[in-house]
Amino acid sequence: MRRIFLFLLLSCIGYVGMAQDDIYPAKEYKGLLFITNGTVHVGNGQVLENTTIEVNNGKIVRVGQNIPVPQDDVKVFNAEGKHIYPGLILPLSDIGLKEIGSGVRGSNDYRELGDFNPNIRSLVAYNTASAMINVLKANGILLVNTVPQGGTLSGSSSVVQLDAWNWEDAAYLADGAIHVNIPSFVPARFAPPAAQQEAAKAALEKTEEIKSFFRQAKAYLAADGHDEVNLKFESVKGLFEKRQKLFAHADRVKQILIAVDIAKEFGFELVVAGGSESWQVAPLLKENNVSVILNAAHSLPATEDEDIDQPFKTPALLQKAGVLFALNDDVSNSRYRNLPFNAGTAASYGLSREEALSAITLNAAKILGIAAKTGSIEAGKDANIIISEGDILDMKSSVVTHAFIQGRQVSLENKQTQLNERYLHKYGLK
């Protein structure tokens, strides 16, 4: 009989790794696991004080206050005084596809040639050895939707879990969304005034092209067999069967309205990705059952006259209108690691803290189509759980000490923690 008791005081293990190659994905754990006496932020708005989570074979079995911990071969994590959250979910990213964006073309696999590429699959290029992955995990992000870019139809995105040996292991939901870039009605920065009309005309033409593609796809898919198989049409079958969602990348009102129009015609489930102006048409989105992934609350207002805190309070406006939304963090210089703080800002500007948490957990799971498996700490779901020293949305207390993916305790080490160790060692600071 062995009882493993892990204390949560150390955020780093005293082991000095020389490179990322020393950080391994965690082994499968089929046994029982208990996280005891923590403050559980369920992800659905509820907060449960002094609560224990029971995990069996990677799934949450029970969440409650009087759960007995057997004196058996189980893992127990005492989370007294700590905060427990569902693993955070990054709903739009290029993780595993883009390593060094600027100046290192060879490390980039996120943008394919061509305009209509619905058959392009991000999942197959997802690089589990990316140095970004472990950095995100250390901030509590355990699941990521990895998205291809470029063209009009960019391809399908897949949700991956961030502790895997290869993309097949990583796959959490394959090809859950088809991505369309809604054309812009806005001319280039220094275009002459006439370009305004031209841009609008070109945008409408492109919209027709998108619709024409889906009309033909629909007709093609209605046929029984094909002498010549069209891979592009085949790849959007899930959209018509509602196994996939249409993620429409659109920021401005006109783009959003175009996206709604396309989705209506074909009966697609629509998610507006970006959505910086979504607050202006929030009731319409609600009526049409459209959800939104907001990119970066940490951005500047769109115009000089706009309220200085507009991007900060946009989540609260969507919440008030009853729109299902998730938050993303697309600031390219910090590579998504500030996702929880975008939620924190939303909480500072009108959302409750638990609503803000939902926007990076359960709401994201719902929008991505994985809510049955994850997104909240509830019985029956995967044990994708993080433990933090304090409020995860506030950087001064957001220190993740433990993370579990499907019940496996995953390493929080990464290249940055290792370089930290290396130089603390050099200077004798440790």
């Binding site: 100046g103 920065r189 500030n338 506030d394 200077y427």
Partner: protein, 1005 residues
Amino acid sequence: MKTLLCAGFFFLAVSASFAQKTFPVNGVADERSDTYLFVNATIVKDAKTTLNNASLLVQKGRITAIGNNITAPKNTVTIDCKEKYITPSFIDIYSDYGITLPQRSGIPFSYSAPARFNSDTKGAFGWNQAIRSETEGVKLFKADKEKAELFRGLGFGTALTHQKDGIARGTGVVVTLADARENLVIVKERASAHYSFSKGTSTQSYPGSLMGSIALLRQSYIDAAWYKNNPAAEGVNLSLKAWNENQSLPQIFEANDKWGDVRADRIGDEFGVQYIIKGGGNEYQRINEIKATKAAFILPVNYPQAMDVEDPNDARYVSLNDLKHWEMAPTNPAVFEKAGILFCLTPADLTDPKQFLVNIRKAIQNGLSESKALEALTQTPATLLSVYDKVGSLEPGKLANFLISSGPVFKEKTIIYQNWVQGQQYNVTNEEWSEIKGIYQLTIRGAGNAYLSFPLEVQSASFARITDKDTLQAKFSFNGKTISISFTPGNHSKSVIRLSGIVSGNQWTGNGEDTTGAPVIWSAAFVKALPSKTATDSGNIVLPSAKITYPFGSYGWEALPQPQTLLFKNATVWTSEAAGKLENTDVLVKDGKIAQVGKNLSDAKAIIIDVTGKHITAGIIDEHSHIATASINEGAQSVTSEVRIADNLNPDDINIYRQLSGGVTSSHILHGSANTIGGQTQLIKLRWGADDEGLKFKGSDPFIKFALGENVKRTTATANNRFPDTRMGVEEVLMDAFQRAADYEKAIKNAEAGSKGKKGAAVNPWNTVRRDLELDALVEIMNKKRFITCHSYVQSEITYTMRVAEKFGFRVNTFTHILEGYKVADKMKEHGANVSTFSDWFGYKMEVADAIAYNAAIMQKMGLNVCINSDDAEMARRLNQEAAKVIKYGGVTEEQALNMVTINPAKALHIDYRTGSIKVGKDADLVLWSDHPLSIYAQAEKTVVEGIVYFDRQRDLELRKAIAAERNRLIQKMVGEKKSGKAVAPFKASHYEALSCDEHEESGK
């Protein structure tokens, strides 16, 4: 003596009138006396003097007499100008009439294309293609009939014309708009010298920014002065030679914007030049600053057109600034008049020059006096160009350049009939000369002497009707001499009577065809005048109701705020001093300073603010910012230490206000990272509403930006040809620059010593040494009078930069970004550098592959003075949160973290004696936070700079309402323009952007 009643159609052959002795005549000589006497006119001699019922005598193109009792010679042609006005014709002081732009010699500058280092101008000229002082307008000028006619139609008789290309544009020439050989229309060959900020058709990479243009101008003044001594090293430089020769002329600077005007004037001040400044039309927004330039101005009247803003999703992208300017632009000349600033008006910049008089009238409706308008178009330009002895008023001896019009020249209904230039008549609307209006009896005689008779009511040269039993519309046209009329002779008739004829005084005669096509002869005779209608002046003019605010766009102040005595009661005070965090403490602010910090403070005059439960910190200082500036990078060369951010601050940048809302009170505005030795930086305080001078942090040590690594070797450019292309080369750029600077300093010292040896007194070393603004800045660095903040990432470059500095006897003051700083923290500590880094950036380019969020904490533990900076207009609003991340990554204390954005950057910038902490006697740069200042839930409620509350969250909410209301008013007004049928421009979004470190100016901007 013959009297011409209708001053008919005599358009004289120009070559005959302007006989030129040296030119042979092909044919028979046709010398004419060209003597005209204009009688019975209202003569506006100049803006101040009007003569009634007076005469004007013109001989051989010049005015010879003016007054009431003029004895004209016998060979005079007399022209009756009864009820007509004679006014001096206008002078366009900002024209390019008859001078075309040169062909661009290649593609314009593009950052992604290879750099172009050399001028495309071949010959013994200067190094930079944009310095074109050798250009002489008089040699390029070719009279242009079409243009001359167009501008005569607007009332112009004279123009100062120059080639509008380049930064130094050479000289302008004063010409008349007569259709004559160039030799004879030139009034003054070299009348002006011209300058601008725009390099025009130059394809050379340098300058690539506004501050680069300014530096080039400054260096050109210096080089030209040096060239006066004919330095052997320079050989013959025709550009500099011409520059010197042009200095005695009036100097005209095209600045085109209120801040541009101020920038131009500052260049002039440095070199003892008072420019005449060509403005941009938005000067009314800052008239005090404009007046302080003491310059005379040339003002365009190209007011913005209303835009189509019916679509609310478009309208959202028009800024309040632009909406207000649309409403207020026509007030600009009146504001100048009121301020007592000398100005000229020009049709330059108008897309449609025909709008000129329309827009002048708008200016008059908005308060400009008619006499000032006339002065601005006549006497003022003539005086500025020293040609008032020739043009600009009607006086004996001056050129006979004048307008004959139906009334005062700026009145809306006034018709300009003729524009006389150099004593030659040019018709503008001459068909209206004789009063054609009236009731006539029209008599038509057909075959067999059958008579038809109709009353004809003529309302204008293009409108008449038959007022018989029925009123019948007629097609009518009169061109001054011939006439055509067609009409249906009754309501039942479909066929028309068509008549054509000629006007001789009150008698009209001609022929035509009746409704059957049979020939007729007709005549018409004047019966009586039209019943006079009461003059309807264009009714109620709705004057603009937008307000001048500081800045002019949204969130501005109606009156600049003043320091207050403030007493914050019962706060948690984070002092950023040894005292640490003080609970339940009061802070008294007085005269812009922190007067007292302690418990139970009181002050009788103070505004008391109860801040129980809230926190006060020192104002945040951003060590690395790119806001509030018009350009960021002068990237055309690897060493550009001559450029200065201070030369192109933009006090209107909304990011100043936004950052105040995040608690920032001081920002270090840096040149970008496009080159190894970038430009001189400017420290500012965020005094929202101040002008550019008012933003500056006075008395602080000067700094300069250096950069290393990927950006300066242009890693992302497809075809880099600018040295360096590797980090090896970057080190040599540094070595070379400082070696040159050291040699330069030695040469200066030798020059000074040498001159002393001879006469004892110091002689200007610049007689022998070319003063070099680029090297001056480097010498200052070596002498510890200017300090480096160096963009850097990887350990190799950090180390070698320190070694280069040490070799030349100075220290790198600050390494900024410094994401691999943790690897060489010990070396930097030993060297004595400060460090300023991002909290958690990584993975965006190769040189940050080893960037770690623990960097700041390690450097802090190694004893370095660590700052957290933004380099990002958004993130600067949350620097307190960025500092808080150092607690998360690396576990510094809360106070240490806060210091990284307050006292530490103050130390790094050498301003800790003034700001950066809460200490009695320091500037009252403070932030009141709603919550723990390192928490994401904390919002700055008030941000105070030197005792002035520049940001207040409550006031901000009120401003939002005011902005929304004012936007709505103006958008409704604009939509109204469209509804009322006025032409509106297609929608275009207002230009708005936040500049970043790697921002480059677009070509042609």
